[in-house]
Symmetry: C2
Subunit: 536 residues, 2 copies
Amino acid sequence: MKKISIYDTTLRDGTQADEINLSSPDKIRIALKLDELGVDYIEGGWPGSNKTDRAFFAEIKKHQLNHSKIAAFGSTHAAKNNAENDKNLNMLIDAAPDVVTLFGKTWDLHVREALRVPLERNLELIHDSLAYLRPKFSEIFYDAEHFFDGYKANRDYALATLKKAHEAGADVLVLCDTNGGTMPQEISDIIADLKKELGDARFGIHTHNDSEMAVANSIQAVLQGAEQIQGTINGYGERCGNANLCSIIPNLELKFDGQYQCLPEGKLQQLTTISNFVSETCNLRPFLRQPYVGRSAFAHKGGVHVSAVMRNALTYEHIVPEGVGNHQRILLSDLSGRSNILFMAKKYGYDLDKNDSAVLDLLTEIKERESIGYEYSSAEASFELMFFRAMGWSKQYFKLMNFSVMDAMRKNGEAFIEATVRLKVGGKIEHTAASGMGQVNSLDQALRKALYPFYPCLKEMRLDDFKVRVLSGTTRDTGGTASNVRVLIESADKDSRWTTVGVSYDVIHASWEALVDSVNYKLFKDDPKKWPSKAD
Amino acid sequence: MKKISIYDTTLRDGTQADEINLSSPDKIRIALKLDELGVDYIEGGWPGSNKTDRAFFAEIKKHQLNHSKIAAFGSTHAAKNNAENDKNLNMLIDAAPDVVTLFGKTWDLHVREALRVPLERNLELIHDSLAYLRPKFSEIFYDAEHFFDGYKANRDYALATLKKAHEAGADVLVLCDTNGGTMPQEISDIIADLKKELGDARFGIHTHNDSEMAVANSIQAVLQGAEQIQGTINGYGERCGNANLCSIIPNLELKFDGQYQCLPEGKLQQLTTISNFVSETCNLRPFLRQPYVGRSAFAHKGGVHVSAVMRNALTYEHIVPEGVGNHQRILLSDLSGRSNILFMAKKYGYDLDKNDSAVLDLLTEIKERESIGYEYSSAEASFELMFFRAMGWSKQYFKLMNFSVMDAMRKNGEAFIEATVRLKVGGKIEHTAASGMGQVNSLDQALRKALYPFYPCLKEMRLDDFKVRVLSGTTRDTGGTASNVRVLIESADKDSRWTTVGVSYDVIHASWEALVDSVNYKLFKDDPKKWPSKAD
């Protein structure tokens, strides 16, 4: 079994992504999670480029890491300096990481157009920078920027840069497909050639996904002998992103007959959790279709597939989802036919016949609702309420009479928001008002105020997430602001989490519907008398 | 130059994706676009499985296609029938497509667990189904479901199924990696073996992306001689999706020295447009980081990268973006340093020095605003207004005094929404009210009502899209409904489109801010007197 080093650059190259901006505390939180996962190296940033990154290196020292080494990134010294008096190199030393990764230019075009120095001078920059840092660190990696493009443009010069880095003592020569345009066959051919020229060097690979080949290229390099893979969680990174470690790691560990090991034993099961943690911390919506760790990665919708998967999951799943910390999902949809509903019914304890009229009615209702924008695959609690109503459950915990929200900006620029709710519980009318942070929060507070006296268990419940999705793109007549809106509300108590849905052309009415479902679900779930026992 | 057939299955396998449900008119609109792009085959659906798909085949006949052939999908006949009396096969005939694609079982596990018939019987199903359809269609393709898994589990049986399909007259044997778990090296080895056994057969490839290898695997198959690629626009499809045609096509056309042709001459430039069209029609948010066609595919954020790209785009772009109908974007962000702002300034006609105090002030303002949730990379119109204000532009087209929105549900369940706006134009106070579809639309209408008398040009402007994003996940104290909200509004007139941004804890206040920016931008853009001419 061969150990492949995992070098995570989520905190440096990952933050180059459109939409990603991480604060220094965010970076620390992610680093601690990466250490827990057991990646070998965590690249924390480029101390020479900004304060946030410098703060990271100072702060991370206060934490005890179990597995990962901290790497700092920087460039070869500026052409106008020598290594010893270069600010960027000295900031790397000041940051005092475990490892330094230095990048240099490989492609003659870049030496001319970006560095604007003679080709020979660039070789000196590479050599002198590495030679200066070498005695100060136990490990130094050299990132050969644009290696593959450089090789294709001027093979001899590209090789000369690598040889310089090798001579100057870099431990690993990391071959970068910086622009992401290289095909796997080229990766193979070029590394094969390289091994002839630099037989005793150790190689790493750093790819970008501009041709949707970053994962394939990384694995191709490993097959050619590369020992280190640089990538990011979820493939975050500039343009189309970096090589996605969440796919590379399970591919190497699960698809090559145990030839490769990337993470410490037993850590692969944390992959889905860390993927979600990083997307949440970056404040990005997780990519549903993401291989291995995505919410849809083991989701089955087609009726035929669902019935096969129910018999044997292997029929439509390439691995056991729990192996990467994910799980199977059965989607409710008009394409799915009755088998999905039967599957859910079973989960709720009902063994129904596929020709049962309740099943057919429910299918019709789902189709109608989906056609106007409801979506039950993520809002299972709303589905469950609908299912039990179809089974004859008819209890009403409260009866809404009316609500209102007023949202205004006053002359002095101050906001004023107020919600009122009027409802009946048993025979009693409750009429409440509340002012919260925003309209939905105000409505939520007014609703709770009305219900607490009757249902104190609602105090344990909290709203954890609130998602708004505008459904149709354009309504020309009235402007896009008249589009339909779907609201998903995620709620939680000490035992469980549930999601409910509401749809309307108006965000408040959609939110209200999801809010009421959420409260009803909590009351339903905790209600010992919701249903006469089946023995009755 | 070798022609590779492109077989699009967005309308069939694509619709198996989580979150995708297409109506029959949607399917027709997408088919017409695919024909415009020039794919060779459009798989419209599975007539035996549902009404929507049957309606598609009836409807598409009313349209004149220029390039594409229409394919219908179906399975081998049911084991209890013979081919002639099988409903599914006869529905394929009734649908009368140009081409039929029949799928059958390759993997012995599936024959036993899903079909539940003896292995020998499955060979008969394959043969008899194809032999029955063969004389009725000029082209028939055979999709060997789970081919690679089947080959690995029981090579001889997998080959026997293919040989049966070949004997029965299938024109192309399409090798499916249905579960998406196969590595490129296996694709290569298995097809090489296959060619020895079935030397005179023509092969196609159909892959899924569960290992993030669907694009690499498709291309690997082409390198081994496959002539047809089955995939979907944007890689939509079940679980992690199908092979992404938006990456495969440009990879083959641009990365192999002109060896392969997929689309008619000059059509590749339509790729970004069709990708966006399909995601809009499917009502899915486009994937920013999507290779070639994504909004971020040629977006540059890092200050170093931006300055290099400004000198020579080749330094950080693997192809010319316009070749696939995309374009370069420079992102505004706290990581980007001053060079991005200088780049935008240049675009607006200002040649600023990087130490100009206006540049530094603007950078500080952007950073502050981004830290509370503003995002200018997509809201360039809001940035432009901010930029010109920093340059000394101070005109105020109107002065807002106050607004209010009331949103209520009455006792009878009816919604009542009303917005009021009070503002001053010149010395005159306008106080208006309107009731529209939803709160933002009502506010928009009240605002326009107040401004039309002074600025009739606003009548040409419309709001085209409205996006809401809840920014921070959780605020435990008050429930998730108190999170911050970012609203992006896209507006258009006859000449141009622009996007503005607003941020608040309250969706209405955020919408109002974006709305006011949008109107201001329209007035600014059309105003000949906004600025004393530079010669003054």
